[in-house]
């Protein structure tokens, strides 16, 4: 197997997240109405980091929650049961601007499942989507509002995202089969 290609290194990920945070701030004048929801698992640390960046820009705390979409997937009878992670949304999302955060946007099915899952928690005023990498190959009419990097891929390739809350070991790589 060929060596993985580095798509984003640590500095590029930090720059990408800072830019996304500024774009979210620019798009949303009512900063108090914005909450971030990270999609398990890759979106969770990214949502926490965007929350810290936005708190710096706006000068007030920005709440972040975790959402698992396993129970809302559309392929549950075509695969082994997914590993279910906790959903923790310790605030009301009704009337809020929810920014969904994920690491990679691919088919769009996870985003659809996430929007369905959010419905069970309340009725947001609007939902926006922020992703670190958009790799193409959409199967649903879904488009991200905020993108760290557009990176066209082949379906056979794999994008691996390594991020944590501290940012210590950030890296996005592409693996070819």
């Amino acid at each position: 197997m060929p060596e993985p290609i580095i798509v984003l290194d640590r500095a590029a990920i930090q720059r990408g997240l800072a830019r996304i945070a500024h774009e979210i701030a620019e798009r949303n004048e009512d900063s108090q109405a914005v909450v971030l929801i990270g999609i398990q698992k890759g979106g969770v640390p990214l949502a926490r980091r965007l929350s810290a960046l936005l708190a710096g820009i706006w000068g007030h705390p920005v709440r972040a929650g975790d959402l698992d979409v396993s129970m809302h997937r559309d392929d549950l009878d075509q695969r082994l049961a997914p590993d279910v992670q906790p959903t923790v949304i310790p605030f009301d999302i009704t009337g809020k601007t929810v920014v969904l955060v994920d690491d990679v946007l691919f088919s769009g099915r996870t985003t659809r499942a996430a929007m369905d899952a959010l419905n069970d928690f309340g009725r947001p005023k609007r939902i926006q989507l922020a992703v670190l990498v958009d790799r193409g190959h959409r199967e649903l009419p879904i488009k991200a509002d905020f993108v760290g990097k557009n990176y066209p891929t082949a379906r056979t390739e794999t994008i691996r995202v390594k991020v944590d809350e501290s940012g210590g070991a950030d890296e996005v790589t592409l693996e070819r089969k």
Binding site: L76, A81, P82, T87
Partner: protein
């Protein structure tokens, strides 16, 4: 993630990793039950038949509500109101269920092995909701879940199962699950109901109740099953209570952090003092709540176990 089984027939054949997978998954489903909207679409469009050939209230209701919370369509089939009363064999009942294209069959039956029989005959996923004196796997999983949630672990804990072990499928499933997860299991009760042969399952057998509960972290009480005892195994219920019942005086001699469990239905004043059943050390109602989460997790996992055995990206 380690679950690729289409059925849940027993605990005996599960690995510790598989048991842990159910418990971890159940944690997420417990959270679903605490939301304003307690329903997820995981089994939308799937049909579940609850085939309860032997009477059951709490297990059947728990399965029904679990299935509803997963958005499945449900058919309830009870012995009293079914063709089984008219002489139909289990095999013919099964073939009729097959003809309805059901996806899951939850079966409670007085014959040990009935769930395995259905699993061989049918395309549907089969979940054992209690078969004879063999096993009651979802009860053991909810017991393990409850212990793990309250004590933070199972390995190394002293669990005493007290009561009618011989006729109890709950005891058998509990023994398998708890010993696989590393607990020290002690069995206690009248010698006629707790024979030494159970030592072969990896647990300790004693007929001295005070000794059995002295160092216990968990005391799991079982009901005396009048309906399964064809001959008298002990003199009477009053005698049972005085020799083996969990009374206040006995509880006072246990560890202060020992917790009390019971699969229900409880017989107040027989195996358990009425006040103990309601005290803060009793986990009896938590077991009922956790039963829902565990059964949702089992249905969710066996649904995945039917598909091609590969993990999608």
């Amino acid at each position: 993630m380690s679950w690729n089984r289409k059925h849940l027939l027993d605990i005996e054949s599960l690995t510790p990793e598989e048991i842990i997978t159910v418990l971890d998954t159940a944690r997420a489903f417990k959270a679903v039950g605490e939301r304003a909207i307690k329903k997820v679409p995981a089994l939308r469009g799937k049909t579940v038949v609850n085939l309860f050939v032997e009477p059951s209230t709490r297990t059947r209701i728990s399965f029904e509500l679990s299935e509803q919370r997963l958005s499945a369509d449900i058919i309830n089939f009870t012995a009293e109101a079914s063709s089984l009363k008219k002489g139909e064999t289990l095999k013919d009942t099964a073939r009729n269920l097959q003809a309805l294209n059901t996806d899951f069959i939850v079966i409670r039956h007085s014959a040990s092995g009935a769930p395995s029989f259905l699993a061989r005959e049918l395309n549907a996923s089969v979940i054992n909701a209690g078969d004879g004196a063999h096993e009651h796997p979802t009860q053991a999983l909810l017991d393990a879940f409850t212990i793990r949630e309250r004590k933070g672990r199972i390995a190394g804990l002293n669990v005493t199962i007290l009561g009618d072990i011989l006729y109890s499928r709950v005891a058998r499933s509990d023994i398998w699950a708890l010993t696989k997860l590393g607990a020290n299991v002690t069995l206690c009760g009248p010698s006629t109901l707790v024979p030494r042969v159970f030592e072969q399952m990896g647990c300790r057998v004693t007929h001295d109740v005070d000794e059995a509960i002295r160092e216990a972290d968990i005391i799991n009480l079982l009901r005396i099953q009048h309906e399964r005892q064809r001959k008298t195994m002990f003199p009477g219920l009053g005698e049972y209570t005085s020799l083996f019942g969990l009374t206040k005086a006995r509880l006072a001699r246990t560890r202060p952090d020992a917790l009390i469990m019971h699969p229900g239905p409880i017989n107040r004043g027989v195996e358990i003092d009425s006040n103990i059943a309601d005290c803060e050390r009793s986990l009896i109602l938590e077991q009922v709540t956790n039963g829902l989460a565990v059964r949702m997790a089992v249905l969710f996992l066996v649904n995945g176990g039917k598909g091609p055995h590969e993990v999608a990206p």
